[in-house]
Amino acid sequence: MSKNVAIVGIGYTSFRPLTPEVSYKELMFEAAVKAYEDAGVDPRRDVDSFVTIAEDFVEGTSIFDEYVPDQLGGLLKPNVTIPGEAIHGLATAYMQIASGLFDIVVVEAHSKASNVLTLPHITAYAMDPVLNRPLGANPVFIAGMEMSRYLWASGASREQCAQVVVKNKRNALHNPTAAYGASIEAQAVLHAEMVSYPLTVQDISSHADGAIVLVLASAGVAESLTDVPIWIRGIGWCNDASSLETRAWGRAIYAEGAGKRAYEMAGIRNPMEEVDFAEIDDGYSYKELQHLEALGFCLFGEAGYLTAEGVTGTDGYLPVNVSGGSLGGGDLLDASGLRAVAEVVLQLRGEAGSHQLPEVETGLAFGWRGVPTTSGAAVVLNN
C-alpha cells in the first residue's frame, strides 16, 4: 500500500434542488476557487492537468468539453472530459499522477439537473436503440425490475429498504450542504406514491444542483502543500454487461469488481474490519443494500438486517452515508461520487463539523452511474 497520490484540496457548493441564480459555469467556478484556496495552489501556475466529468445530453451541449477550461483556470493546459462516474474521473487523475507524468491534477464534477426539463426522456436515450428503446419503457422501470429481483434473490424486504431512506434523510438534517434532509418514518416511504413497483417516490433520490472540485498531488508535492494529505490507497472500477439481456440482475457485479480492485490495491482483506465508514451510492434505496453486499461489507442478503439493526447508522459499527448520501443530499447524477469522496476527505480530516464521526482513519466512497448502466467505481482513502 504505497503513498503515491493524495487529495490536498476540496471545494464544493451547497447542493440544492434549484439554482436559478447561477449557471453551471458559476457553480464550477465557486467550487474551484474554494478548492484552490484549500490546497493553496494557483491553477494557472501550479496545476498541470484538469479532468472534468460530464455527459453531453444532460449538459444540453454536444462536446461539453469545450466549455470547461475557462472557469477552472485551465486555459492552454491539458484538459480532458471523462463521460463516466465522477470516481472514474478521480481514477483518471490518479493515473495521470501515478504514471509520473504530472504532480498536481484537478478533478471537477457538477450537476445542473434542474436545467433538464425531461430527464427521464434523456435517460431513455441511453437504452439500446435497436433492442430496448422501441419498448418505450421509462428508465425507472429498469430500477423497479432490478429491485424486485434483488428482493427476491436476497430475501431483503421493502421495509429494510425504507430504513435506508429514513436513515439517510435523517443524516442529511445534520449536513448543512444536503438538499433533502427530513425526519420521516418507514411507513411514509412504503405508502408513498408508487413509481415503478416496488419503488415508491420516496425510494428514489431527487435531483440536486452543485459542483465539487478536488486537487490531487503526488506524494512529494502533497506533503509540501498540506499537513493533512488524504491518501488514495486503493481505486477500482468495473462494468457489467451494458445489454439488459445479459447482465446479472440481482447482484451488482460492477460494484464487486470495483471493490475487489480497490481493496487489493489498498491491501484490505476484510472491509468490515478495516474500513471505518463508507459513502456509497444510494440513488435508489435498495442500491445501498445491494452495494454494501457487493463491496464485501457483509454477505448477500445481510445488508437489510444490518441496516434494521442500526449497524450502518451514525453510531453504528459501519456508518454508511453519514452525509445523507443521494437520498438525503440530492442526486447529483455523475457528480454524486465526487461528493462522496469530498465527504470522506472531510471526515478523515476531522472537518465534518456537525456530522463528524469520531476517530476515523479509513473510508470508502463508491459511485454508480445509474440506470440503465452497470458501471461503478470505488476508492479507499486514509489519513
Partner: protein, 396 residues
C-alpha cells in the same frame, strides 16, 4: 500560463503491440457495438491475445448526438470487450481519437494494468439528414447558437484567416487533398481513395462555404479502430516488434474562440511541445520521420504541421508544393491517406492515425509503406471549437 509542468520521472514504458481497423464506409450496416467488436477482435488477433488477457478497456467516441445514444460509452462497452472489466470513455471532441491511446497509456504507465485495449468508434450515418445538424448543438447556447452556425462556416473563417495571413491561394491548399486522396488509394479500408484525382478536380468541386469546397473536406464516415497497449515486460514477451509510445501531449484553449487569432493553433504547439519534451525530442524536424496530422479539412494539415513545429508558420504550403510531404518525400505526411482520403469517423479517424504509425514503423504498411525505415512518427488530432490538440509520438 505557459507550458504544463511535465514531470519527467516516468515509471513504465508502454508499447503498442496490436492494431485492428474496420473498413471506413458511408453507411455501415453494423451497429456501433458491432463495429467496435470487429476492430477490437482484429487488434487482439494480430498479437495473439484474447479478451481474457486484457486487463482494462478504454473507449473514445465523439458526440452522443451522432448516434442519438445517451451515455454512448456505456452502450458500446460490451461490444468493445469491457464485459466485467474496468472501462472508461475519454472525450475531447475531435481530438478524442489521439487522446484515447494517451488515456490507455497512463492506465498502463501508472502500474495499475499491464494490457489495455483501446477502441474508438464512430457511427455518423445514423444522424439524419446530416451530422452537421448535430454540430449545431456544440455552440454556446446563449451567444452563438441563436445564430445557427455550423462547422463548415467557422472552419471557412479559420481557413480564410490562414490564407489571408500568409497570402495563400486555394491552389496551395488544394494540393493536400490531391496528395491524401491519392495516398488513400493504397489503403484497403479507405472510403475516398482516388489515384487519379487532380488539382482541377478539387478546385472545381462544389462550393460549400467559401473558401471551403467539397473536396477540401473529409466525408461523413462510419468505422472503428482498436489498439492493444502493453507494459514493457509484457510487450517484450508477446511481440517481436513493439512500437513504443514515447511522448504524449494534450492541450485545450478557451471556449471563446472568437477571442483568438485563428491563423495559428497555439494549443497544438503546446501539446506537441509536451509530447516532444517527454520523448526527449529537441529537433522535431530531424527526429520525426513520419507525420499524421489531423486533416478533416485540407488547410488543417498545413495548420497542424506548423503547430507541430515541423514547418515554420505559413511555410507548410510551400513544402507541400515542393513534394516534401509526399510519401517518398523528406517528411511523409498522412501516408495513410488521412481523413480526406481514408475517411473521417471522428474518434476512429484519430486512432487510425496512431494505427498508421504502428504499421509504418513496423514496416507493415504494404503499398503505403514509406521508404527509408522510419524510426519515429507523430500523430495528432484536433477538435472542440478549434480548441484542442492531442499528440502522440511513437518510435521503435
Amino acid at each position: 500560463m505557459g507550458m504544463p509542468n511535465v514531470n519527467r520521472s516516468l515509471k513504465r514504458r508502454v508499447a503498442v503491440v496490436g492494431a485492428g481497423m474496420t473498413k471506413f464506409v458511408r453507411r455501415a450496416q453494423e451497429t456501433g457495438k458491432e463495429l467496435s467488436f470487429e476492430a477490437a477482435s482484429m487488434a487482439l488477433e494480430t498479437c495473439d491475445l484474447t479478451l481474457n488477457d486484457v486487463d482494462c478497456v478504454v473507449h473514445g467516441t465523439a458526440p452522443d448526438s451522432f448516434d442519438g445514444v445517451h451515455m454512448k460509452g456505456e452502450y458500446l462497452a460490451d461490444g468493445s470487450g469491457a464485459w466485467r472489466k474496468p472501462y472508461t470513455r475519454c472525450y475531447v471532441g475531435g481530438g478524442t481519437g489521439v487522446y484515447a491511446p494517451i488515456h490507455g497509456w497512463y492506465h498502463v504507465a501508472s502500474g495499475l494494468f499491464d494490457i489495455c485495449l483501446v477502441v474508438c468508434e464512430e457511427k455518423m450515418s445514423s444522424c439524419q439528414p446530416h451530422p452537421q445538424g448535430a454540430f449545431l448543438t456544440i455552440f454556446d447556447h446563449t451567444i452563438e447558437r441563436p445564430l445557427g452556425p455550423n462547422l463548415l462556416w467557422i472552419f471557412a473563417m479559420e481557413m480564410n484567416r490562414y490564407m489571408n495571413t500568409y497570402g495563400l491561394k486555394k491552389e496551395d491548399i488544394a494540393l493536400v487533398s490531391v496528395k491524401n486522396k491519392r495516398n488513400a488509394a493504397d489503403h484497403p479500408c479507405s472510403l475516398l481513395g482516388n489515384a487519379d484525382i487532380t488539382l482541377d478536380d478539387v478546385l472545381n468541386s462544389e462550393v460549400l462555404a467559401w473558401p471551403v469546397q467539397r473536396l477540401d473536406v473529409s466525408p461523413i464516415t462510419d468505422g472503428a479502430v482498436a489498439l492493444v497497449l502493453a507494459a514493457e515486460h509484457v510487450a517484450q514477451r508477446i511481440s517481436d516488434k513493439p512500437v513504443w509510445i514515447e511522448g504524449v501531449g494534450w492541450n485545450l484553449d478557451t471556449a471563446y474562440w472568437t477571442n483568438r487569432d485563428l491563423c495559428y493553433p497555439r494549443y497544438v504547439e503546446n501539446a506537441a511541445r509536451m509530447a516532444y519534451d517527454m520523448a526527449g525530442i529537441t529537433e522535431p524536424r530531424k527526429q520525426i520521420h513520419i507525420a499524421e496530422p489531423y486533416d478533416p479539412f485540407n488547410y488543417k494539415e498545413l495548420h497542424h504541421l506548423e503547430g507541430l513545429q515541423l514547418f515554420d508558420r505559413g511555410k507548410a504550403p510551400e513544402a507541400t508544393a515542393l513534394g516534401i510531404t509526399q510519401r517518398d518525400g523528406d517528411l511523409p505526411v498522412c501516408p495513410s491517406g488521412g481523413l480526406l482520403g481514408v475517411g473521417n469517423p471522428i474518434a476512429a479517424a484519430g486512432l487510425m492515425k496512431v494505427a498508421e504509425l504502428f504499421w509504418q514503423l513496423r514496416e507493415e504498411a504494404g503499398a503505403r509503406q514509406v521508404p527509408g525505415q522510419p524510426k519515429r512518427g507523430v500523430a495528432q488530432a484536433w477538435g472542440d471549437l478549434m480548441q484542442v490538440g492531442t499528440v502522440v509520438v511513437m518510435g521503435t
